[in-house]
């Protein structure tokens, strides 16, 4: 029986460029170059490895995002995923995490799944909560923040390095997992992969296809409201001294003056 893996990938503004908020206080996605959230590359990588170890597996990548979010799907397809689902609807603009989890859960249920793989956090919102919300909505176990993951028979096993301890976890499929950037370097798409990705199917779904009311998502339907955004003044550069043999002493004098010593 085929193992159906769904990977959630987010399209985010490039952290290396300037990231802004638009006038409605949502993330400016027009002005910024977007890409597949780097932390979701680790999710795609682990899905590919799990698929390799399975007799038979199919990987679907899913994103909720604007037209350009197709770029994120193409990248995941060129890494080796089999097909893609793009949830795209003008009414989605400004959706918060509760709304996003609702949309993703419906899309994943529609696609069909045995295993959902997410990144540990997006590189823009960086909340790190969506996988837990998905598990709650889907009513399946969460095996999250994993630095190691494997699937054997109908069981997913993983290792979670928490603040106080390292835990070994186990759950029966279907389940939602999220993986950290300690789970293993993500592969680069090969030229063959990039060419093949162009022919892979990308299905588009809108809110109607998922039976979601527009007032449950978007800026108006959001469970959270952003009232103000202020750009922080850039830190003004302080004193910079070249070490001529007394650097450590100069630093100590500064720390003493600031009352740290």
């Amino acid at each position: 029986m085929s193992l159906r893996i769904v990977v959630c990938v987010k399209y985010v503004p490039d952290a290396a460029g300037d990231r802004h908020f638009a006038d409605d206080l949502t993330v400016d996605r027009e002005d910024a170059d977007g890409l597949l959230s780097e932390l979701d590359e680790y999710a795609v990588e682990q899905a590919l490895q799990i698929a390799d170890d399975a007799d038979d597996a199919e990987i679907t990548v899913v994103t909720v995002g604007p037209e350009d979010a197709k770029d994120a799907l193409r990248k995941a397809l060129s890494m080796g995923a089999d097909k893609a689902v793009h949830v795209e609807d003008d009414d989605l603009h400004g959706t918060d995490v509760v709304g996003t989890s609702l949309v993703l859960a419906k899309a994943i249920e529609k696609t069909g799944y045995d295993l959902v793989v997410c990144g540990m956090a997006s590189t823009d919102g960086t909340m790190g909560v969506l996988p837990a919300m998905l598990a709650e909505r889907l009513g399946v176990p969460q095996v999250t923040l994993l630095s190691e993951v494997s699937v054997e028979g109908g069981t997913v096993k993983g290792r979670r390095d928490g603040d106080a301890a390292t835990e070994r976890l186990e759950a029966s499929l279907p389940a939602v997992v999220s993986v950290t950037d300690q789970s293993g370097e993500a592969r680069y798409p090969s030229f063959k992969g990039i060419m093949a990705a162009k022919k892979k199917p990308v299905e588009s779904l809108d809110l109607g296809d998922l039976d979601i009311d527009a007032d449950e998502v978007g800026l108006g339907g959001a469970w959270t409201a952003v009232d103000a955004v202020t750009e922080r003044p850039a830190r003004t550069q302080g004193t910079i001294v070249k070490d001529e043999g007394e650097g450590g002493k100069q630093l100590a004098a500064y720390l003493a003056e600031q009352k740290f010593i």
């Binding site: 919300m133 969460q142 390095d161 469970w223 009232d227 302080g238 630093l251």
Partner: protein
């Protein structure tokens, strides 16, 4: 008066500092009611009472240790149902964020994570958050349901404020999904005796420039002279020189100490995301062009192997 539910992070009854900070913030919104789970839950009451908790709800069951996250969500929901709070506050740890996330979905509420400040507002609590590696600061609130908010360490002062801290046992019934994810084994992290990274007033970090696991002794010696925690860049962690639990940055810990000292760290955006809000930033780097110097209050362009030991000696000498 309105009650605010506070989720307690404790180790065998010893309450961790971020929870005491939450109690300070909770008192701005109403009367704190604390929820402590697991072994030692009742032992938290005295400390929580001293910091303003009017009531302490406790529950212990093997499910809290044997299964991941969901049993704690079941308990938090039971507390939520019994208290009907005006807000639910949790610390911003990986686990507590997931507990918050699931509760928010269950009770149909919005969720704000990683708040760095919290004030009472006309339409409920107003949270300040840092966005895009601390380049922006935002003010948000929950527009549907009961606010569920997680707060980063060092976001508020710890202020004692005596309250009853009456202990009440909370009845928790576990749902079908509680036993879904089994914790097969748990290996506690060895204590280094140094302060906890996210809570420390001073953090001393090393990066690729430290050039070897054994050389981290130089960084540790400075940290110990200052009573500081030790941090590392991802490059140092990936090289296997220091444990991942000490990584500072986007995918490591985010720290906001009074003083951050970066040695042999270039200052990539993902590193900055985790330390940019430190009050005072100091760097030692041999490259005058390193981006970390854009952030510093005081920077030394030089070899860390010359500068850091000299600094350590000087700190020790001054402290006597």
């Amino acid at each position: 008066m309105a009650e605010v539910l506070v989720y307690v992070d404790h180790v065998d009854g010893a309450v961790r500092k971020p929870t005491l900070e939450l109690l300070t913030l909770a008192r701005r919104l109403g009367e704190p009611v604390a929820l402590a789970l697991g072994a030692g839950a009742e032992a938290t009451a005295a400390t929580l009472g001293e910091h303003g908790a009017v009531r302490v709800l406790t529950a212990d069951a093997p499910e809290f240790t044997d299964y991941l996250v969901v049993p704690k969500v079941d308990a938090l929901q039971a507390a939520y149902d019994s208290v009907s709070p005006v807000a639910v506050l949790l610390p911003s740890s990986g686990e507590a964020k997931e507990i918050a996330a699931r509760l928010a979905v269950r009770i149909g509420s919005g969720l704000i994570t990683d708040a760095v400040d919290l004030e009472a507002g006309d339409q409920g609590p107003v949270a300040t958050q840092s966005a895009f590696a601390a380049a922006y600061s935002t003010k948000s609130r929950i527009s549907k349901g009961t606010p569920v908010i997680t707060v980063k360490p060092n976001s508020a002062p710890v202020e004692p404020s005596a309250a009853a801290g009456t202990v009440e046992a909370l009845a928790v019934s576990f749902g079908d999904t509680a036993t879904g994810t089994k914790v097969v084994s748990r290996e506690p992290r060895e204590s280094t005796g140094r302060p906890e990274l996210t809570e420390a007033a001073i953090v001393v970090s090393g990066g690729r420039g430290v050039n070897g696991a054994e050389n981290f002794a130089v960084i540790e010696a400075l940290a110990d002279s200052l009573g500081a925690a030790v941090g590392a860049s991802r490059a140092a962690v990936d090289a296997g020189w220091y444990p991942h639990s000490n990584q500072v940055g986007q995918t490591g810990k985010s720290v906001s100490p009074q003083l951050y000292i970066a040695s042999g760290i270039s200052g990539a955006i993902q590193h900055r995301a985790g330390m940019q809000t430190s009050k005072t930033i100091v760097a030692v780097n041999k490259d005058a062009e390193a981006p970390i110097f854009d952030l510093v209050d005081f920077g030394i362009v030089g070899d860390l192997f010359a500068v850091v030991p000299q600094l350590t000696d000087e700190v020790k000498a001054r402290k006597g």
